[in-house]
Subunit: 285 residues, 2 copies
């Protein structure tokens, strides 16, 4: 398949690499253009703009940082939508607003362009290994067209409803991990303050109701008080903002997610925004 990849950050770059390895014809574009070079060395074509990248492709995969960036690379001057022909497809792996996603999908549909929101979970490790979980929203036919692309870097693609449903699912994911990271961090802080052997404790905790991916994969870094990526605090805070907005649209107040968002604001203000989300373990110390 001819696929354009726009946005070659921590997630987009390994996605493009997996697409190349799966045998797709890949054209890449990134705002900071040097990031295209390692992929060009692996066989990708380079394009000067999202529009130019899209013109060479049947489908455009976008993976950018926030809602305004998505609107710019799709619908801005030299945006990808202008380069796609009718019948084309946009697959967006960014984490952005569900409401804006629904709106942009409707505008693209008027021009005969399909849209699938396909935000991912699994972090930078999952992207590198090609084992991301995809939460997909879109028309059934569009999701089926997107599958060969998504399968290149995902171990699991779940179609959850119309355009926007994938973004709501990702928002749910970010809400659930918020309290889990924070609580595991609080527990580790208490264990260390009381002088317990943290490694043995984590093994015991992992056998019971406190078991979680966060405990399994992030407690060792919390114990070491060291927070390599993973997934940045600043990006999780952005995602929590999206989730809290979506919750408010439905009249829900999510008090734990709100509290964790405030804790992350504090971490960012203290210069920890580029650390992994597990840096929430700093808060109670």
């Amino acid at each position: 398949m001819r696929v354009a990849v726009v946005g070659l950050g921590t997630m987009g770059a390994p996605m493009a690499r997996h697409l190349l390895e799966a045998g797709h014809q890949v054209t890449v574009h990134n705002r900071t253009r040097e990031r295209e070079q390692p992929l060009a060395a692996r066989g990708a074509a380079r394009a000067a703009t999202p529009r130019e990248a899209a013109a060479a492709a049947e489908a455009v995969l976008t993976c950018v940082s926030d809602t305004p960036d998505l609107l710019a690379v799709l619908e801005g001057e030299d945006g990808a939508a202008a380069g796609l022909e009718g019948g084309g497809l946009v697959v967006d792996c960014s984490t952005v607003s569900p409401a804006e996603t629904t709106a942009v999908a409707a505008r693209l549909a008027e021009r005969g362009i399909g849209f699938v929101d396909a935000p991912v979970s699994g972090g930078s490790e999952g992207a590198e290994r090609g084992t991301l979980t995809v939460f997909a929203g879109g028309e059934e036919a569009d999701v089926e067209r997107a599958r060969p692309i998504l399968d290149a870097f995902s171990g699991r693609v779940t179609h959850l409803g119309p355009p926007g449903a994938g973004q709501v699912a990702k928002a749910v994911n970010q809400v659930m991990i918020a309290g889990t990271y924070a609580s595991v961090g609080e527990g580790i802080a208490l264990a260390q303050a009381a002088g317990l052997p943290a490694d043995a404790l984590v093994q015991a905790l992992a056998a019971g109701a406190a078991a979680s991916w966060v405990l399994d994969n992030r407690s060792a870094n919390m114990i070491a008080d060291s927070y390599p990526l993973g997934f940045k605090v600043g990006l999780h805070r952005k995602d929590l903002g999206i989730a809290l907005d979506e919750a408010a649209r439905h009249g829900l107040a999510l008090a734990v997610a709100q509290l964790v968002a405030e804790q992350e604001d504090g971490l960012i203000a203290d210069g920890h925004g580029n650390e992994d989300v597990s840096a929430l373990a700093r808060v109670p110390r």
Copy 2:
């Protein structure tokens, strides 16, 4: 081994049953004495007081609801300590204050009686199946003496330090599950408000960073808005109080645990204190 079991609640009764099935000679006592009958029917002796139960035993297993109850059954009039001879052993599976545990262990040690704090995780299902996780505190020799008792109902006994260490570990467990239950509940509430297919979403979430025991074992009840036990909100709230006190003793503020404690106070005030902790999913609805 001759074992007295004092406290035959949701946890203590199946523990006594597993001890009988493992071939121990068991004497039981419960404040509400009718609760002794099903165990007597299985071969347990009955005792009118903790002291009388202890007099027939090499070791006393206590499983009561709170710190004052433990002090009463051990050191009150007709308490178990008065019935035990020097060289005897107390194994406490209650969840109580780490500081009080350290103090009572020291008082028993002066009388030549060993003490192991052995709070458990795994809930009523784990007690029924005999697969509880035990967090043990105590002198090495005492923990070894307690193992044949604990092995009857536990799949994993982890010795974490001197008397009190088991209770701190349990406090850590209760802190970690607090935010996890609350966050899974917030996520489920958001998913349902937005009209996502919750069962498919949970399967997708469980493959990524949101994976947890709570998601695996309690999200279906949250989706159904039905909260059978499990583990009571009221007891988890009591445990969070112990954990927050222990944290404060070390100068730590655990903001998420504190928030969840307040949410549980609200649930209890609204008449939901006897539901499972997963009733935290009621809060954002």
